[in-house]
């Protein structure tokens, strides 16, 4: 797990990953070398205080170069919330993340479903499976132009907000996108905040643990 100045979900992801038997470690961005790790997570937070644009500065540090290396080696990478913003800013995932419709930060549990699940993070899910998780962001409105959408997103795994649950005005209800093989996944909702029943309010079933389980399974048996 790569930690930048302002990353604040590293300990949370650590707990969630540990709960499925993974052996995570938090690495300060200055010391991040991808070759030492089986999989990489960029946790949420406010790297560099969201100065300029969310994720923009972190995507221009030396740690980003290491992310390109990791991509070339095919390592699983997941960016959560600010981590997703960093992956998009670094050009590792398509699209852009804009300020929420409504202009306010929003923290709320939402319902999602997955399409074309594959790759290390999603392979144990079935097409159309429902997942509940909370979002917490000010700049989470996914945007992509139609040409890129039909060229990339529709062929790749994607997470969408269920009807009526889009908290930020994201285009096509997109909550998360992935590379075609699913090796790199970015999503605005927080799976680590939905890894146990205790954290899910009434009316929601925690849908976060399955992503970590999928990774644990993939690292053992491949994907």
């Amino acid at each position: 797990m790569v930690k930048f100045p302002g990353t604040n979900c590293d300990e949370d992801v650590f707990h969630a990953a540990r709960s499925v038997g993974l052996e995570p470690e938090v690495v300060w961005y200055k010391y991040f070398r991808p070759s030492s790790w089986d999989a990489i997570i960029i946790p949420g937070g406010f790297s560099y205080g969201d100065w300029l644009r969310a994720g923009a500065i972190a995507a221009r540090t030396s740690a980003a170069d290491s992310l390109y290396e990791a991509r070339d080696s095919g390592a699983p990478i997941m960016g959560i919330c600010n981590g997703f913003q960093i992956l998009v800013e670094a050009g590792l995932l398509p699209g852009a993340l804009l300020p929420n419709v409504g202009g306010r930060f929003v923290c709320r549990w939402v319902k999602l479903y997955v399409e074309r699940p594959r790759g290390p993070w999603l392979k144990v899910l079935g097409d159309g499976d429902r997942l509940d998780m909370p979002v917490a962001h000010g700049e989470g409105r996914y945007y992509i132009d139609n040409e890129s959408y039909y060229a990339t997103v529709v062929k790749s795994p994607v997470l969408r907000y269920a009807d009526g649950w889009n908290p930020n005005g994201s285009i096509y209800n997109i909550a998360g996108v992935a590379t075609e093989d699913g090796a790199i996944l970015g999503l605005m909702p927080h799976p680590e905040r939905a890894y146990t029943d205790l954290l899910a309010p009434r009316g929601f079933t925690p849908g976060g643990k399955i992503l970590f389980k999928s990774l644990a399974d993939s690292l053992r048996k491949g994907w």
């Binding site: 302002g6 937070g45 205080g49 954290l199 009434r202």
Partner: protein
């Protein structure tokens, strides 16, 4: 507040000579009301501050209380009223920054924030601007530092239109051995870490110790600007420094800046200090005077033994935290400040840190009689259904979703009972066990305006009830008393009475008041005090967070049980205010013995798994509490209020909307009721089974000779939307 002539005379006497400009500035900062508590110190001793579980009481940056034998909770409250009136965004944000650093200073990990906001009428353009700015300031700062804002309190009233009250609290936890309880020693290095010092917040605490001027723009230089990224790095770095036991003392550079931090540490430990101002890292070129009293944010003072200084530097550099070694402590008892080799100040630490306490005159104003007169002539009751719906739409009752969704209340993955679900927030410790704590903040500015003693006492009781209603055992509270000008006897009286009310009720309920703050000079440019307000934040212990109770009705056919007797007590109620615009009468009487008994009953019922939902009865009375449970749960109900235990003879609206203390509503399974009644009889608790949860999407309240039916959809929509509409559409 500038120094008085007598104070300058006193300074001459202490020094035995004319003070330098730098020394005068140091005294002005340190002797300001904000830093010295000179007007309140004598009375503050009335608060019961000790107890079996208190580890550190009043005096350090924050108190620490034993939550479990191996775990301490560190929590504190603070006000940022003056800055938030001038610059709502930065004023509120820096309030969060400051309170978090107080928790860090004890070596604890901050795990929760609370905001208690007493704000103007959302329909007033200026108040609306302040509300948006304050909430956004807390949101932007709290979210960025990764500490969840999990609970709080609000109250809206046009008397706060220009001068709001912004009270914030932070809760931290630490294992017993991680708490930083040691003292600095002579020879220890003084390190200032964090932000570079600049020309912001100059004499900010002095600014907070006088009334706001008419032209608020002239005060803007006294408001500090927050930098949450640096704060987050301070949090991360201090966790490592404390984990490796590298520091002997930590202190926030808050109000009064460097002067206050050094003089308080030195005075408290009988030390002196040598400081070289030119070594401090700065943003711009500053005079020695400015360096001494700047209140630039996100700075902390470390006391470090010279042998470990290199390791400390290494850690700070890893986290990109700026720092400077500016001097050391010695055993001289004097603070000696140099700038470029020139001695600019040389003062005895003890005299600087503690000015003479001032005794203030106290006298009730005529206005205070309004809260002493029983209500003899009630206005004709309105259509009761309309009254219920109007109360549900009042900004004081309606859902505060617009506010709490702007806060990241999930970060840290501890929040088991989230905003909007329970009477208090419940957090787990995340130490592998199911242990946790409950936190809540409360105030009722209307009560404390009418009757400051009883109002403050009721606030302590309400906080206590809220903690009990989620299934926790309250262990300690802190208080923030927001009052007017202490130099005016008719303002000071409110402060004195609120303090005595808190002290009395806390004593009766066995709750130590382990810390607190006082905010004076909350008056407008015409010299009128804003509503005197006693804010209480409490912490409760909850052994198994999975058992925490929430307020939403869970299923059809449960029995609805009211705990506690209802008296006809409408004085100062939300009903009289929202429906008739009346604010007078005796407010509900505090009944501490009943409070304790009923709390024990509810606590036991929750622990034994006999309840499905619990909600305390407060503003808006029984009617509003029932509707809240129904709306949150999406489950209707049918109750017959002739079954309610009522004392005295009241009109029906007096019963429906009475704010009698010590009451709760419980949703219980039919099979549990026998046991509940048995307990109630054993413990001498009044309980009434008034009806059942029911389907059909409606709430039905029967009483002698009539009934009220409220459609749940309509109630829910008003409850959920009214506040947002008032904020977004009101201007």
């Amino acid at each position: 507040m500038p120094l008085t002539t007598e104070e300058v005379e006193e300074i001459r006497r202490i020094l035995g000579r004319e003070p330098t400009l730098e020394e005068l500035a140091m005294f002005e900062a340190q002797w300001s009301e904000h830093c010295s508590y000179k007007s309140s110190r004598v009375l503050l001793k009335l608060l019961p501050s000790t107890g079996r579980h208190v580890i550190v009481g009043v005096g350090r940056d924050a108190p620490a209380v034993e939550l479990y034998p191996d775990t301490a909770v560190v929590f504190k409250i603070e006000s940022h009223n003056h800055p938030s009136a001038v610059d709502p965004y930065n004023g509120a944000a820096t309030g969060i920054g400051g309170i978090v650093r107080d928790i860090l200073a004890m070596g604890a990990k901050p795990i929760a924030l609370l905001d208690m906001l007493y704000l103007g009428d959302p329909g007033n353009p200026h108040a609306n601007w302040l509300i948006r700015g304050i909430v956004r300031g807390i949101s932007d700062y709290g979210n960025r530092i990764g500490v969840p804002t999990v609970a709080g309190d609000t109250f809206f009233d046009s008397r706060f239109n220009r001068q709001p009250l912004v009270n914030v609290a932070c809760v931290g936890v630490a294992s017993r051995e991680r708490l930083v309880l040691s003292s600095p020693r002579p020879g220890d290095l003084i390190i200032v870490m964090g932000n570079a010092t600049g020309r912001d917040g100059l004499l900010g605490s002095s600014f907070a110790s006088k009334a706001l001027s008419d032209n608020v723009d002239s005060d803007i230089g006294a408001v500090q600007v927050g930098d949450p990224l640096t704060e987050k790095l301070l949090i991360d770095a201090i966790q490592v420094l404390v984990g490796e036991k590298l520091v002997s003392y930590i202190k926030d550079l808050g109000g009064g800046g460097l002067t206050t931090a050094i003089s308080e540490v030195a005075a408290e430990h009988g030390l002196g200090a040598v400081v070289h101002l030119e070594k401090l890292h700065t943003r711009q070129s500053l005079s020695p005077l400015e360096l001494l009293v700047s209140e630039s944010q996100e700075r902390m003072l470390l006391s470090v033994e010279p042998e470990v200084a290199d390791r400390v530097a290494q850690i700070l550099e890893k986290f990109d935290v700026s720092y400077s070694v500016i001097g050391h402590f010695d055993d001289s008892g004097r603070i000696r400040v140099y700038h470029g080799g020139r001695l600019v100040a040389d003062v005895p630490a003890r005299d600087l840190a503690k000015p003479k306490a001032v005794r203030r005159d106290s006298r009730p104003p005529n206005e205070a009689l309004k809260g002493l007169q029983p209500l003899t002539r009630l206005p004709t009751p309105p259509n009761l259904k309309d009254a219920i719906l109007k109360l549900l739409s009042s900004p004081n009752t309606a859902s505060k979703r617009w506010i709490f969704e702007q806060y990241d209340y999930e970060v840290g993955i501890r929040t088991a009972v989230k905003p909007g679900y329970g009477d208090a927030a419940v957090l787990r410790l995340l130490d592998g066990s199911c242990r946790g704590l409950a936190v809540k903040g409360d105030a009722n500015p209307r009560y404390t305006s009418l009757d400051p003693f009883t109002g403050a006492a009721n606030t302590v009781a309400e906080c206590f009830r809220n903690l009990v209603a989620v299934g926790s055992r309250p262990i300690a509270i802190v208080d923030e008393l927001n009052a007017g000008n202490p130099e005016k006897p008719e303002h000071y009286w409110y402060f004195e009475m609120m303090l005595k009310g808190v002290a009395w009720m806390a004593g009766e309920l066995g709750l130590p008041v382990v810390g607190g703050k006082v905010s004076f000079y909350n008056e407008d440019s015409q010299g009128r005090q804003v509503r005197p307000t006693a804010t209480i934040v409490g912490v409760g212990r909850i052994r198994d967070v999975r058992r925490a109770a929430t307020m939403d009705f869970k299923q059809l056919g449960s029995l609805i049980v009211v705990v506690g007797a209802t008296y006809p007590e409408l004085g100062g109620s939300e009903y009289l205010s929202a429906i008739f615009g009346i604010e007078e009468g005796e407010i509900p009487r505090p009944r501490p013995a009943t409070e304790l008994r009923n709390a024990k009953f509810v606590y036991r019922a929750i622990r034994r798994g006999l309840v499905r939902a619990v909600h305390d009865i407060s503003g808006g009375g029984l009617a509003v509490a029932l509707l809240e449970m129904a709306v949150r749960g999406g489950v209707g109900f049918e109750v017959d209020l002739s079954k309610l235990v009522v004392r005295g003879d009241g009109r029906f609206d007096e019963i429906l909307f009475s704010e009698t203390q010590a009451r709760y509503i419980i949703e219980a399974d039919e099979n549990a009721v026998e046991e509940l009644i048995k307990y109630a009889q054993l413990m001498g608790v009044d309980v009434s089974i008034i009806g059942r949860t029911a389907g059909g999407g409606r709430a039905l309240l029967r009483y002698d000779g009539g009934s009220i039916t409220v459609e749940l959809d309509e109630a829910a929509s008003l409850y959920e939307r009214s506040f947002e509409d008032a904020i977004e559409g009101g201007v």
